[in-house]
């Protein structure tokens, strides 16, 4: 850990020094570089205002809100079943995972539990959403670093997973499949077999990524030691998911939280990496994708027959109360804090998205790095704009 903090200190000192250089010695102002909102590195419309000394960043401040849709307000005028279709759009590449914590929170308030088969289906689709999401990250990270090929492989192999999600939910990106008390429908015939072969494809993709990208010395030169987040800082900023685990924080809500998903029935492990740099974040995510395929395989093998809906009233009114349920989404901890007044609609929904917290560390993290490292760090933090802006 000493190496990390030394490096961080050096980066900080360098940033201070270049600031002083610009302001005092040269009596100039430094160059303000607007990265975004229309910039290929920002996966959407994030804008980063960076003050530069040459290529070194003195200060960087993300500006967002270009895609703010006001979900917290919109949910207050929608009934519970209508909310799920809305919150699909928060993290749009792993969207089934968005529905689950909301539904679980509502179920917790109503005091009902989904049948076991529904929980299995939820968990399987949850992990498939994770795979589809992280595959995109693996390819996208390469594009940020200038390698074009991996993103094509990512889109090619993500298709296998998306096809499976579409075959069962009817939607590729916005499943709207989770219901209070269960799931909407059961698997169609032959789906389990197709999914198993899709998982094989995903594992092949992971191998390809390892050979093509992670093993590449250039990739390592670009990512190792770049954007180091010490564990304590990560916790202060509320980093979650793979970003926290890459800093050596052994914290995974799939294992550590008591929500109604059946991760306990599969044999898997939580991957962590002690380095906390961009490479570690990439590494952890790659391992997680493999782990997720293994979870899907095991759950598909052990799923039992049964009903998929618990008994719920036709008109869903959630009793008065408050509940916070968070799950380990592809991007990190996503939680819904629901305040209900016993109406058809929630009284207040606080949406705790992973990316918002993950990106809030950037002003701290981008001090003293070079311009190309901004792209590396943002890529490795992996945010989805809809997840920041909600």
């Amino acid at each position: 850990m000493t190496a990390i903090s030394d490096r961080q200190k050096l980066a900080y000192v360098a940033a201070q020094a270049s600031d002083a250089r610009v302001n005092l010695e040269l009596e100039t102002e430094g160059m303000i570089l607007n990265i975004g909102p229309q910039h290929p590195a920002t996966h959407g419309t994030l804008r980063i205002v960076a003050k530069l000394d040459g290529e070194q960043v003195i200060h960087a401040e993300p500006m967002m809100g270009y895609m703010h849709r006001g979900y917290e307000k919109l949910t207050e005028v929608r009934t519970y079943p209508q909310v799920t279709t809305l919150i699909n759009r928060i993290d749009w590449v792993g969207s089934f995972a968005n529905e689950v914590p909301f539904i679980l929170a509502a179920e917790q308030l109503m005091g009902i539990e989904a049948p076991l088969r529904a929980q299995y289906i939820r968990t399987i689709l949850f992990e498939m959403g994770r795979i589809a999401n992280i595959i995109l990250f693996l390819g996208d990270m390469a594009v940020q670093l200038g390698a074009l090929t991996p993103i094509f492989y990512a889109f090619r192999d993500r298709e296998y997973v998306l096809n499976q999600i579409e075959a069962v939910t009817g939607g590729r990106f916005h499943p709207n499949f989770d219901r209070i008390g269960g799931v909407k429908d059961d698997f169609p015939k032959g789906w389990i077999e197709d999914s198993l072969s899709a998982m094989v494809k995903v594992r092949e993709f992971c191998d390809q990524m390892e050979d093509l990208l992670m093993g590449s010395e250039i990739f390592q030169a670009r990512t190792r030691g770049v954007g180091v987040i010490p564990p304590d800082v990560a916790q202060q900023f509320g980093l979650s998911g793979a970003n926290a685990r890459a800093s050596g924080i052994d914290w995974d809500l799939r294992r550590d939280s008591n929500v109604g998903l059946v991760y306990g029935d599969a044999d898997w492990k939580v991957w962590t990496h002690p380095d906390g740099d961009s490479f570690a974040r990439f590494w952890v995510r790659l391992q997680e994708t493999r782990e997720a395929t293994s979870i899907v395989d095991q759950l598909l093998g052990s799923i039992k027959g049964g009903p998929i809906m618990a008994k719920v009233p036709r008109i869903i009114k959630v009793p008065e109360g408050e509940a916070y349920v968070a799950t380990e989404n592809p991007l990190g901890e996503m939680g819904y804090y629901i305040v209900s007044k016993g109406d058809l609609t929630p009284f207040r929904v606080k949406i705790r998205t992973a990316s918002f917290n993950n990106v809030s560390i950037t002003p701290w993290l981008l001090r003293g790095v070079y311009v190309p490292d901004i792209v590396t760090i943002l890529g490795s933090l992996y945010f989805i704009l809809g997840d920041i802006d909600r």
Binding site: M64, K269, Q287, K350
Partner: protein, 252 residues
């Protein structure tokens, strides 16, 4: 290559995996202990608390003790993980779901509903605005929701940024959406909205314009059969679907 073996824990041995399977005991020692410990540290600062055994705990503190609370939970209770910080406007919405809009009242002659009285949730509350935050202890696997009353007209609470650096953006968002001032925050400025935006959109009395620009299409205005004097149906969205195909509005 860094090792992954030494840092991972198999699922089956995880202490938290067993926690939910325990029957929800009426007394939750862990969370009772937390409240007790915090009361010791803050004294009168802790106003109220609510515990759902085995699941969650809500603690309400006074605004004066808010910053001290952050320090206590972080350094003493080990909640080093900052979840989120936000606020609630407890005022009942005067607009509802935007369906009982003018159109309905004009067409059907209904009177505007009277607003229910303002109520608050777990751990109580005295003012219209309440700031709440969630922190977690990731070693012992528990989370705490902390609440503080912020006031009615010009709500303000002390900032948390000195304790949790990550609270910066959350406080900016809360300030912008609810107009709650965070005393001591380094620079409260707009985070999502344009810099010249006026108003606090998440307050309940801020209208959601999308619901006013067009009438709700769910209003039943089937022309009655000539000769029948059946009145028009009402517009509540909570109707049970008609069981008989021939007369859907009888129950509507």
């Amino acid at each position: 290559m860094s090792s992954s073996e030494d840092t991972t824990i198999p699922v089956s041995e995880s202490p938290a995996a067993d926690a939910p399977s325990e029957p929800a005991a009426p007394v939750d020692d862990l969370r009772e202990g937390l409240v007790e410990r915090l009361t010791e540290l803050l004294g009168d600062g802790v106003v109220d608390h609510h515990i759902i055994p085995g699941k969650d705990v809500w603690i309400r503190v006074t605004a004066d003790a808010w910053q001290h609370t952050a320090e206590s939970v972080r350094y003493t209770l080990g909640c080093r993980y900052f979840g989120f910080l936000s606020a609630i406007d407890w005022m009942p919405s005067p607009w509802g779901r935007g369906m009982e809009a003018e159109v309905d009242t004009i067409v059907h002659g209904k009177e505007a509903k009277e607003l229910p009285a303002q109520t608050t949730g777990y751990a109580g509350g005295d003012t219209r605005f309440q700031v709440f935050a969630r922190v977690a202890n990731i070693k012992d696997h528990f989370g705490i929701t902390l609440k503080v009353d912020a006031g009615d007209e010009t709500p303000s609470v002390p900032t948390w940024t000195k304790v949790f650096a990550g609270a910066d953006w959350h406080e900016r968002e809360t300030w912008e959406m609810y107009g709650i001032d965070f005393v001591g925050h380094p620079f409260l400025r707009h985070i999502y909205l344009p810099g010249d935006f006026e108003g606090n959109p998440c307050r309940k009395d801020f209208p959601l314009l999308a619901r006013f620009v067009k009438p709700w299409p769910g209003i039943v205005d089937v022309e009655p059969l000539p000769g029948s004097d059946e009145p028009g149906s009402d517009t509540a969205g909570s109707d049970e679907p008609a069981a008989d195909a021939s007369a859907p509005e009888e129950t509507a």
